[in-house]
């Protein structure tokens, strides 16, 4: 099976019409659905949080069949993700897109579960620890986008499950979780 990095590409990735934005409504809907799922799967697998339309994104082209998505097509598919709440435009010009292959709420739940499973309540962790520390290695949290993490933590804070505070060192923040 064809791969992109460690990611296994589905068979229809080699179907040339897949890379042409279909004009017929029904066909287009099916095509958009496939691309949405593919983008989310790929980003989850590769831990990609941001897609920049100004740079090449490997998923958007298939050199073996000499096809790649037009700019218009990329915007259509990403906008569909935004509409579904699985992505957000980071700028007004729609050049950068934040991909939420896990929703913020899901991240919050995941963090809470992680904290409970590892007995880290009442403990303090720096944000950076969560992102790249020893404890989170091998979990989804490793390498998480800082912005996404902060939003998830803020959500927990609103629910009273965590408290964010400025740390002793100048740059980093810390989090105290409560049970």
């Amino acid at each position: 099976m064809q791969k992109l990095g460690e990611f296994k590409l589905p068979p229809f990735f080699n179907y040339p019409p897949y890379f042409t934005l279909q004009p017929v409504r029904e066909t287009r809907e099916k095509q958009v659905q496939l691309w949405k799922d593919l983008i989310l799967d790929f980003c989850r697998n590769q831990k990609i949080f941001v897609i920049s339309l100004e740079e090449d994104f490997h998923l958007f082209s298939n050199p073996s069949i000499e096809r790649s998505l037009s700019h218009e097509a990329k915007v259509v598919f990403l906008s569909a993700l935004v509409t579904n709440g699985r992505a957000e435009w980071m700028d007004k010009g729609h050049k950068k897109c934040l991909i939420l292959w896990m929703r913020i709420q899901d991240w919050a739940d995941y963090i809470l579960r992680f904290v409970r499973e590892n007995g880290l309540e009442d403990g303090v962790m720096t944000v950076e620890d969560i992102r790249s520390g020893f404890e989170t290695r091998g979990t989804e949290l490793a390498g998480i986008d800082r912005g996404v993490l902060m939003r998830a933590l803020k959500l927990l804070e609103q629910k009273g499950k965590a408290v964010i505070f400025k740390g002793s060192s100048a740059d980093d923040e810390g989090v105290k979780f409560s049970a």
């Binding site: 296994k8 589905p10 068979p11 229809f12 080699n14 040339p16 019409p17 279909q22 004009p23 096809r67």
Partner: protein, 446 residues
């Protein structure tokens, strides 16, 4: 008391136009005509329908009833005498329908035909609005005087002597017959024939009216030239005219399209111009439709139709109106507009589904599965014009049968596999049913 005369039936085409004899040309149309016979106390109607469309041709009077798609005829040779129009200025005559009385010969079984033993007087009643009896009468007398049916008769009796030369006019009579001595005699004979042909051409083109009457001769001439083209090699007999003929292919194409001897003109049909044009177009378009596989663009029809008419060309608006009128008549063809704006003419019996089935099966062949179909591929395989092939592919796309692929190679179409892809099993290549597995197996070389 004389019995009521009967008229023989006249054959019609599927568009309710008369089937013409070879050499017969239409001269005038008159709507709203009745035919009466002054027998006993009251006039009797001679036609089984009322208010017919009268077509005056060089050979006949044809009475057409479009509602029942039937017609009757009176051969002009059966008319012994046409009475002059009454020119009374009484109030009654101003509001009455104009009438033309004819003395016709009747055969023993009561039908109006030539060389009958009896005769009767019948009356043509013009009940149509805005008809000018004087114009009709003038044309009618002109046609009676020229007696063109006799020319056809004599030509058909077989012209002996000169090879293929059957122009039929009086020109040949004046030719001096010279003794045929060897090659020079033959050459001289040929020369004479070409001179008379040349004179004919000059006479014809000087006057469009004369051209109309010479139209039959022109068609015969064209036929003769075509025969010559087919047989001529490096013959000296034909070489004197090779320059005039130009390229052989052009000539043949032109000759093949000279098929319409009597174009419907505004003059002959008056207010009925568009209707008759519409019907003539429906008749004409049958053969090109068949050659093109059942569908032909309006642009192509415009070119072919005008080329066949030769003179009295129709404008694009005339063509559009003529096609639009088809909805009102019962003709076997129709105009159709595609989403892209392309207008075509197709047989009513043409089925889109059948074309889609052919396209579908074409799209699922092994190499088209991999590479798709371009409009020119489809045109070649389906045997239709590329512009039409593209229309069909686009229609199939909008039906969900195909989907498009735009690349550096242009626009191509593939069989639509989006519906076959099951979101739950997108990684499965072992699906046995449907086209997707075929395509995957072929394309996917790990």
């Amino acid at each position: 008391m004389t019995s009521i005369p009967r008229l023989p039936t006249a054959p019609l085409t599927t568009s309710c136009r008369p089937v013409f004899f070879s050499g017969e040309v239409e001269r005038y149309f008159l709507p709203g005509v009745d035919l009466e016979f002054d027998g006993s106390d009251r006039p009797t109607l001679l036609l089984p329908f009322q208010s017919s469309l009268l077509v005056l041709t060089s050979h006949r009077l044809v009475f057409i009833d479009e509602a029942s798609a039937s017609a009757r005829e009176i051969s002009l040779c059966a008319i012994i005498h046409a009475f002059p129009l009454k020119k009374s200025m009484s109030i009654r005559s101003m509001f009455a329908s104009p009438r033309v009385r004819l003395q016709v010969s009747i055969s023993n079984d009561g039908t109006i035909s030539e060389k009958g033993t009896k005769s009767s007087v019948i009356t043509l009643v013009m009940r149509g609005k805005n008809t000018d009896p004087d114009v009709f009468y003038g044309k009618f007398m002109e046609v009676l005087r020229s007696r063109e049916w006799e020319l056809t008769a004599s030509a058909n009796q077989g012209s002996t002597g000169l090879e293929g030369s059957s122009s039929g006019s009086g020109v040949n009579d004046l030719r001096i017959t010279m003794p045929v001595v060897g090659v020079s005699g033959i050459l001289r004979k040929e020369q004479e024939i070409w001179e008379s042909t040349d004179k004919n051409l000059q006479d014809a083109f000087q006057d469009l009216n004369a051209l109309m009457s010479k139209a039959k001769e022109m068609v015969q001439l064209a036929e003769k030239m075509r025969q010559k083209l087919l047989t001529t090699g490096s013959n000296s007999q034909g070489s004197s005219n090779d320059e005039e003929m130009g390229s052989k292919q052009d000539m043949q194409d032109w000759l093949l399209s000279v098929g319409i001897v009597s174009p419907v003109t505004k003059e002959t049909a008056g207010a009925l111009y568009h209707q008759q044009l519409s019907r003539q177009l429906a008749d004409f378009v049958k053969i090109p439709l068949e050659k093109a596989g059942g569908m032909i663009t309006l642009v192509d029809v415009y070119c072919l139709f005008n080329r066949a008419r030769g003179t009295e060309l129709i404008s694009p608006e005339d063509l559009l109106q003529a096609c639009a009128l088809w909805e009102k008549f019962d003709v076997p063809v129709m105009m159709r507009k595609f989403d892209s704006g392309v207008k075509v003419i197709q047989n009513k019996s043409h089925s889109d589904d059948e074309v889609f089935a052919r396209i579908s099966s074409l799209a699922q062949k092994p190499d088209t599965l991999r590479k798709g179909i371009s409009p020119s591929d489809a045109a070649f395989t389906l045997g239709i014009a590329p512009a039409l092939a593209k229309e069909h592919l686009l229609s199939a796309e909008s039906r969900g049968l195909l989907c498009r692929d735009v690349s550096a190679e242009g626009l191509r179409f593939y069989i639509n596999l989006f519906n076959e892809i099951d979101s739950a099993n997108i990684y499965t290549t072992t699906k046995v049913v449907g086209a997707e597995s075929h395509w995957s197996e072929l394309v996917y070389v790990a």
